[in-house]
């Protein structure tokens, strides 16, 4: 009995510092934001705690779809980012998994190395590449333009006037949705590759042989055996890319323009410039609800996927 008490005290002692910290500096602020999203902005920037759904109605207002449009764009950018990450990441994972073990480890290490460097720095690198005076446009509107002009001067008969025209202006890359999608894909690609890799690496190769014994060709073997069985990895990777893309702030802020604002940016402006805390809290609420739905889906799907797998490993 006494020993049991001592054990209880020991557990409590071990947990208490983290429990205290996470309750006071995480759970309470979280509840505060959720509660505030139902409040109203006071005249001097304060908060009036009257329970209403005004903020949510303003966000999902179909007659004035300012925020709804930003919401839609955010979902669109996050979805395209996830798709592009899959198209790049899945074959990449496949290739890594087909390498000898030693090289596989170095390749994984090389995949993670940029991932652990500063996100801001990595985004800044893309400014250098994509902006009007950047690397791509120096080549496009500089070197390539000069080459085309020279070619036309040497061989006047060539129908290249349209190319001279096109290369005389920089490509509109910077400040567009495309730039954000590139930046986000770059940022979260390892999150797609790793779960795909884990699923492909675990895959039992004898299943392909079985399929081929049943006269499946390689394409059929891939689409009807390999891909369905590695799908849990794809779903896990997709969620891991989709969720941070939804909440992106730095990427649209640095690579996007006025026409490519995302949810993260409006949350920022509600708190830092408009000082409408309740509305900003409501938008955060929507973002967190999406994140929570994604996470639940993730656990559902991956846990179910592991259960449904044949008993190898």
């Amino acid at each position: 009995m006494n020993k049991n008490k001592r054990k209880q005290w020991r557990v409590f002692g071990l947990i208490f510092p983290s429990l205290f910290w996470l309750v006071v500096f995480f759970a309470i602020p979280l509840i505060l934001v959720l509660a505030m999203s139902f409040g109203e902005r006071g005249t001097y920037g304060g908060v009036i705690w009257n329970f209403n759904l005004e903020n949510f109605a303003r966000f999902f207002d179909f007659s004035d779809p300012l925020y709804l449009r930003i919401f839609g764009r955010t979902l669109y950018i996050a979805a395209i980012t996830t798709l592009v990450s899959f198209l790049i990441g899945y074959p990449m994972a496949f290739w890594i998994a087909s390498q000898p073990e030693k090289r596989r480890n170095s390749l994984l290490m090389m995949l993670m190395l940029p991932f652990w460097t500063n996100f801001l720095v990595r985004t800044y690198a893309w400014i250098l590449i994509l902006r009007d005076q950047g690397v791509i446009n120096t080549i496009w509107a500089g070197h390539f333009h000069n080459a085309v002009v020279w070619l036309v001067a040497v061989l006047p008969g060539l129908p290249l006037d349209w190319l001279v025209q096109a290369t005389s202006n920089p490509l509109p890359l910077f400040g567009t949705n495309l730039a954000i999608i590139i930046g986000l894909t770059y940022g979260w690609l390892p999150d797609m590759v790793l779960p795909c890799y884990a699923a492909i690496e675990r895959f039992d190769g004898s299943l392909v042989e079985a399929a081929q014994d049943l006269y499946a060709n390689r394409v059929q073997a891939f689409f009807r055996v390999i891909f369905p069985l590695t799908l849990p990895g794809v779903v896990a990777g997709s969620i891991l890319v989709f969720i941070p893309s939804l909440g992106a702030y730095v990427t649209p802020d640095l690579l996007g323009g006025a026409k490519s604002v995302m949810i993260g940016n409006i949350i920022y402006s509600q708190f830092m410039s408009a000082r409408d805390y309740p509305f900003g809290a409501a938008i955060s609420f929507v973002l967190m609800a999406l994140m929570l739905a994604g996470t639940l889906f993730y656990f559902r799907f991956t846990v179910a996927g592991q259960k449904g797998e044949p008993g190898h490993d």
Partner: protein, 279 residues
């Protein structure tokens, strides 16, 4: 001399060989995609021109020299190191303690607490930043280094706990039982058996927390006050003013520091069991 045919190559149809080449080319190009921006960034930190475009104007180290005499960057670096070190120290202790409890004992309310422990990892940065800002404003804690440290500890604990718990889960409890058989009490068992064996995991967790603290921008951005600018905040405000080769030099130094930290942490984890965990 007769040429030996590879039986595998004979069986492989030509079509599939092409597929294999495409897969390899794709794999290599993906790594180019991952590293090209970083390499371009570093190359242009050595470019002898005030303007960062695609043109090369000769080699120089002047941007690095400017970096080392920049007082604002020096102050930001000191703030960054101070904040990261304090946050790492506290969160490593708290995170290790909570890991021991979670992996060794069952107790009332363990499930919801487990969820609370994971939540800071999956919640979007911007949401966590916003709620901490609101909280600090409401309880009237002045924004500054203290609020940044508090916020960093709040997310670092979870990451430390994940790493240390992974280590504890593969821990051989027979070693502890052996110590107890040799009349070691609980404290001695922990001090001379559990703790040394756990050390690589704790160090890896601490390094992860340190890296995350050092690199964090969004949460720091919201919870910082006047005079508490960190390196990422400094880079951000410089980038907002315009692209300059000094930012490239600063970025290159930060990249190098992160690379070293990652290599160190992988090496530490390898030292334990030869297995590398990629998060």
């Amino acid at each position: 001399m007769t040429k030996r045919l590879n039986p595998q190559a004979m069986k492989t149809p030509f079509r599939f060989k092409i597929g294999r080449y495409i897969l390899t080319a794709h794999g290599l190009l993906s790594y180019v995609f991952l590293y090209a921006p970083i390499i371009i960034l570093i190359i242009f930190s050595f470019n002898a021109s005030k303007f960062v475009t695609g043109r090369w104007h000769g080699f120089t180290l002047i941007w690095y020299q400017k970096l080392f005499v920049d007082e604002a960057i020096g102050a930001a670096l000191r703030n960054s190191l101070y904040i990261s070190l304090v946050a790492t120290f506290v969160s490593t202790i708290f995170g290790t303690m909570v890991s021991l409890a979670m992996e060794r004992y069952n107790f009332w309310g363990k499930m919801p607490f487990d969820a609370l422990l994971y939540l800071p990892i999956i919640i979007p940065d911007i949401a966590m930043a916003v709620m901490l800002l609101l909280f600090f404003v409401m309880v009237k804690i002045p924004l500054g280094k203290l609020t940044i440290i508090i916020s960093h500890i709040a997310f670092d604990i979870s990451f430390v706990a994940i790493v240390v718990r992974a280590r504890l889960a593969q821990f051989d409890s027979a070693l502890e039982e052996a110590a107890q058989d040799l009349y070691a009490n609980n404290w001695k068992t922990f001090r001379y058996v559990t703790f040394p064996l756990l050390m690589p995991g704790i160090l890896a967790g601490a390094l992860l927390a340190f890296t995350l603290s050092l690199d964090d921008f969004v949460i720091t951005f919201f919870t910082a006050g006047p005079g508490s600018s960190t390196l990422p905040l400094r880079i951000y405000s410089l980038v907002k003013l315009g692209v300059t080769p000094e930012i490239n030099a600063l970025s290159a130094v930060m990249l190098l520091a992160s690379f070293l930290l990652v290599v160190l942490s992988v090496w530490l984890q390898k030292g334990g069991d030869g297995k590398v965990d990629f998060m």
